[in-house]
């Protein structure tokens, strides 16, 4: 009985982790749907967003190292601390500017190129952004604190302690995970409403479906690309905040993209519900696997389980859970 309850706890924690995977996968799906680009830079986008947020909040001088080296000055901080909300709003602004720059400097010049070319462009973008983030904000590990609650939920733990038997100490669930879940839910709901009911959302769906037809009804592809990259940037910011708050802002944050890949294989590259369900399945799957099978084979299964699951899945349903049917044309 107690074991079962612990399994439930593991599952709930898996769901919460899954929400974060889903969030990263969502960024991929948005861009892939609208422009057919697999955005390799999505993880770095999250890192860059988190770096920018911390930098703005702490009043760091951007490019301080560069300026100091060039002018012999000793700048590092402006000396103010911004409220978290202000810093988040400003970071959103930076992500929108970044989206505009990406469209102007990269996408615009690659219209009608093969998907592989665009994919390679995003690889370049990833390396550039990684270096740019370092130069702008410094390469040291930063703590991100926007006032999200941390640590286990004492209330939940106490309320559930003693369930089944006295040996059960109650569910341990990180409050940050709870917040992340709520934020992700709000984000997904607003994105869905936006896409279903707004003029821009309609235009976005149109572009995702057929470029020519979209042009013929008066939709500017370039505007839509700026829009989706902005949204992807904002989704990356949210993911960056959650992961950054958990484990600090550092290069490894960009590797969360690796977690999104199996999620995408599972959920399909073009489906928003797929990204969410895929994220949850992977989150729960890897935690449960580690909990049940892990001890028998020496643990550390979380590193590879997601990929194995995705590969097995690919064999049976190559288009993913919710992806569009792949129909071979003959």
């Amino acid at each position: 009985m107690t074991d079962l309850l612990y399994a439930v706890e593991v599952m709930i924690n898996g769901l919460m982790a899954g929400v974060l995977y889903a969030l990263v996968a969502l960024g991929f799906v948005l861009i892939f749907k609208a422009s057919g680009i697999f955005n390799y830079a999505q993880g770095v986008l999250a890192l860059f967003a988190a770096l920018t947020l911390v930098g703005l909040q702490e009043g760091q001088v951007p490019f301080a190292h560069l300026i100091n080296a060039a002018l012999g000055t000793d700048l590092h901080h402006f000396g103010w601390q911004l409220p978290a909300v202000v810093a988040i709003v400003l970071t959103v602004g930076v992500m929108v500017l970044l989206a505009i720059a990406i469209e102007r400097l990269i996408l615009k010049h690659l219209v009608n190129q093969a998907p592989i070319i665009l994919f390679m462009a995003t690889i370049g973008l990833a390396y550039f952004l990684e270096g740019f983030g370092d130069i702008m904000w410094g390469a040291d590990i930063k703590t991100l604190d926007v006032g999200l609650p941390q640590g286990g939920s004492a209330w939940l733990e106490q309320a559930t302690a003693g369930w089944g038997s006295d040996e059960f100490y109650g569910f341990f669930i990180d409050r940050l995970d709870i917040v992340a879940t709520l934020v992700a839910a709000v984000l997904v709901i607003s994105l869905t409403l936006f896409s279903q009911f707004s003029k821009q959302g309609r235009a976005l769906r149109a572009v995702a479906d057929d470029h020519q037809a979209a042009l013929s009804v008066g939709i500017s592809l370039r505007f839509i690309w700026v829009l989706v990259w902005s949204i992807a940037g904002i989704v990356a910011l949210v993911a960056g905040i959650m992961w950054g708050a958990k484990s600090g802002v550092q290069f490894s944050l960009s590797l969360i993209a690796l977690k999104a890949l199996p999620v995408l294989m599972l959920g399909g590259f073009t489906s928003i519900p797929g990204a969410i369900v895929g994220g949850l399945i992977i989150g729960v799957g890897e935690k449960l696997f580690e909990f049940t099978v892990g001890p028998m084979i020496g643990g550390a299964t979380e590193n590879w389980f997601a990929y194995v699951l995705a590969l097995v899945f690919l064999v049976f349903r190559p288009q993913g859970l919710f992806g569009e049917r792949i129909i071979e044309r003959v």
Binding site: F194, R205, D210, Q212, L215, S216, V217, L221
Partner: protein, 277 residues
């Protein structure tokens, strides 16, 4: 559709069947279009008058679709000028052309195949949607009124084209003939000043062709919409159009009322002498 019909333009020309044809709406001057070595359009000039149905005919590969693409901004002419509403139009992207009130359909149908008939036609109204992002997000009164006005317009088009039964069907699943009809509906939804139709009846059976002909005539009659119609079928063109441009190998070989064009020797040679499907 019982929408307000705009007052007929002062007729500067009346066709035999009594339809009023107004002043010049668009003029193409010495258009040439090359793709590398291929000359798709060779120094062609003609005009399109308000309220008329202007057909472009010619054998396969004559350059008809290319001409339509020039008008709609999908192709930029190598040489020549496009004049619209009395002003020279600078090189313009297709979405901007659409916003000027020029709607089109495609020879190879370009629909949003994942969307329903209703949503496809609704997309045609995007250029007419005004409400800001914020008011839409919050579902404020004006945004809601606007949305229902658009829905109403779309429903009228659906009634007009007699496609009520497929309102909610994803268009990817529809047969070819109905897809063509939905595509026309989407173009109509923009309430265009100039409607460009690229072979709207290709691949249809006789009954479908008759329906489509009737819709085209009704659009022209009831709303006074100016139409450029590319069509292969000589018979259809004779019935529908007020004036015809005939193209062959990128050149213009005839221009005038259908009877006149049909009688022209060049046209007969091109049409009967050249194999076409």
């Amino acid at each position: 559709m019982n929408r307000m019909v705009p007052p007929p333009p002062t007729p500067s020309h009346v066709t035999e069947d009594g339809r009023a044809i107004g002043p010049v709406l668009m003029e193409l001057r010495n258009i040439t279009l090359r793709f590398g070595g291929v000359v798709a359009i060779k120094d062609i000039s003609f005009d399109i008058r308000e309220g008329e149905i202007r057909a472009i005919i010619g054998p396969n590969g004559a350059g008809k679709s290319s001409m339509l693409n020039v008008i709609s901004g999908f192709y930029r002419p190598t040489e020549g000028e496009v004049w619209f509403e009395g002003a020279r139009r600078p090189p313009m992207r297709p979405y901007k052309v659409a916003r000027q009130g020029i709607a089109r359909t495609f020879q190879n149908i370009a629909l949003f195949s994942g969307m329903s008939t209703l949503d496809n036609i609704m997309t045609g109204r995007i250029t007419r949607m005004r409400s800001s992002l914020l008011s839409q997000a919050l579902w404020w009164g004006p945004a809601e009124r606007e949305e229902s006005a658009h829905r109403e317009a779309v429903e009228k088009i659906i009634d007009f084209l007699e496609i009520q039964h497929i309102r909610k069907t994803p268009v990817g699943r529809l047969p070819y003939g109905l897809q063509k009809r939905v595509e026309l509906g989407r173009a109509l939804a923009a309430e265009p000043r100039l409607l460009l139709l690229d072979e709207p009846m290709a691949g249809m059976n006789v009954e479908e062709k008759e329906d489509m002909s009737r819709f085209i005539l009704d659009v022209n009659d009831e709303f006074g919409t100016t139409i450029v119609l590319i069509e292969h079928d000589m018979g259809v063109v004779m019935d529908l159009s007020d004036r015809v441009v005939v193209m062959d190998y990128g050149r213009k070989i005839g221009d005038g009322p259908p009877e006149e064009v049909r009688a022209s020797k060049d046209v007969i040679d091109a049409y009967l002498g050249v194999a076409h499907d």
